[in-house]
Point group: C3
């Protein structure tokens, strides 16, 4: 992928302030909202079934993250995914800890049937979602993105969308093309919600980018570049989290061309 | 308003540590609790119907913020508002995203009927609550505080309370007098929960101030002064959030007399 | 207690990355997850009844914190505590605001009947849980740890576990031996969730330490040493929170021998 495509995506994001409707876990709502604000999107967290469909229909993109899902929010997720589909709105599925827990694994299988525009997870989660693995423990992954490459491609062809597998080098595919994004920092894995916020940033980018693959890659590049900048000056994981938000704010379309693409 | 009134309110807050019972959205609970601790109040988040009435009856003030409201917490909000009313305890309504979503708009209309001591929102929300507008999208406001001035005054006379409209210059009225608070920083709008935390700080101040209008103005002045101090040294929205809490802690009654009142 | 025991516990924690299943309040989930990551554990927040038993059975330790408990999560807590007991997995009870609110006080009494491995609370909460007091208001404590010493010892003998009472000097007992941990910083009480995160860190330590009392003391020492380091460079409560996470990350087994034990 030519990095100049990323520049256009980054500029489009800053110019259009997409409204990202998040149904996400309660651990990461704050960092997700702050990360969306920092990259130039407008976050809104609405996970009540009575409101989820009404809001998804007017949002620019929807994020469904099953991290602390319960019966009530599971219903809201189904409603929001269907409303997004009906409105032609892109939506992102983050299958947190899928594979290891029965309730959410069944929910995620249903959600895959609603054809998420993008799936973003770690290797264990993507393997589990594609039916090829048993998942990890919580948000850990015991597999690598390359282990999940074949499953990711198969899943992308099934959903006719994009699948992104996070790791030291992220692997992103639409079932035909594979793009790898390097860089980043191990401190991202020491900060709760950084991966979940990435899912929300993917939603923001695909709402504005010319094509899905470019938008998804741009989001990963944005997060990785910001993480490198923050890690260079952070004294530990606590200061890193704040500096990463500063850096997300500082990265613009022009900076994205420095992304480490393979 | 004479700024010396603010000094007394600020001193009263530090001297009395009011217990603020918050029923607020899950995105902002952490920053709300930390902001209350920083200004000298004691926060407690209790939003289970089985507990909300019991707790509201012993709290110094109650905050009701409908940001991520659901059926269960809506019931708790009704119970807490009634308990506060019954105990003569001040309570603050923050009508997040009211106007744009049916479920919470109906809830907020009911809550207005219970006569909130203070309403704090952005212009779109106050217009919607007063029946004069359709609300914004999420927490954004497409109107300005001055656009909402007439609606705010009408609402204040109806509730026999105070209505505060947040914006670059905040507009606060009891239906007779109008006070404007300037200063602050655009970084407040890049930090999720800063506005919601302001609602909680209003609750803390009206619990201790001699009159409602002074307490509400003092809360807005406290937040604005702290934002200016933090913005002067922040490197971006991530570091701003932490520095704003430091600055909320540093502002005392003496500092409040430097507020930019119009 | 010989501080060299703490060194072994600290090293064991860094070497084994225990998976800590948290059922905790929504205000503190983020700082709890980040604190667990910083000390070297793996956090997972699962509080849906449909998942809580399945997950507790595979976790290294379980934390039950009743801070924002509701009917649904109360059920999940009972399920998780029973699953932990059935699997021989240590679990920690944090009785936030017990004594002051009927619903959670009854829940906590039931949970004590399931014999928590460790109880960690403030003096008012421990007194209430032991049946000797009426609790505080929210997370405040109006009693001192020494006031609660007798009740803590009685409770520890009843549960055949350890009871830790937090305060300026923490008091920890297994019903026979009493260990006191000094140091720390008043800024811990100005940071929402620091005490709750301590409960989670206790869970992480008792999952790996040779004995319960050592693990519980090591957790308190780890938090206190990190707080001292952070307080020395923090400009206020906002920056303290980030620096405390940095310091939790920096403290290792070797550092724990400098703990202030009495």
């Amino acid at each position: 992928m030519d990095a100049s495509l990323l520049r256009a995506a980054g500029t489009a994001l800053r110019d259009s302030t997409p409204l990202v409707h998040c149904l996400t876990n309660t651990v990461v709502q704050t960092i997700t909202a702050n990360a969306l604000l920092a990259v130039g999107a407008a976050p809104a967290m609405v996970d009540e079934p009575a409101e989820a469909g009404e809001f998804a229909a007017v949002a620019s993109a929807v994020l469904v993250n099953v991290g602390t899902v319960q019966q009530r929010t599971a219903e809201a997720m189904r409603i929001a995914a269907r409303a997004a589909d009906g409105a032609g709105t892109p939506w992102v599925l983050d299958p947190v800890a899928v594979g290891g827990l029965t309730f959410r694994t069944e929910l995620a299988a249903d959600l895959v049937g609603l054809r998420p525009t993008v799936v973003r997870g770690n290797a264990s989660e993507v393997l589990a979602l594609a039916g090829a693995g048993k998942g990890g423990r919580g948000v850990d992954s015991t597999a690598t993105p390359e282990d999940a490459l074949e499953a990711a491609g198969e899943l992308a062809r099934r959903t006719r969308g994009v699948v992104a597998v996070s790791g030291p080098v992220d692997v992103i595919t639409d079932g035909q093309t594979v793009v790898r994004v390097g860089g980043g920092s191990p401190l991202l894995t020491r900060t709760t919600g950084a991966g979940c916020a990435l899912g929300a940033i993917v939603a923001a980018y695909v709402a504005v980018a010319g094509d899905l693959l470019t938008g998804t890659v741009a989001a990963h590049a944005h997060v990785a570049l910001a993480a490198e900048a923050a890690a260079a000056i952070a004294a530990g994981p606590g200061t890193f989290a704040a500096l990463w938000l500063d850096a997300l704010d500082a990265v613009d379309g022009g900076a994205l061309v420095r992304a480490e693409l393979h």
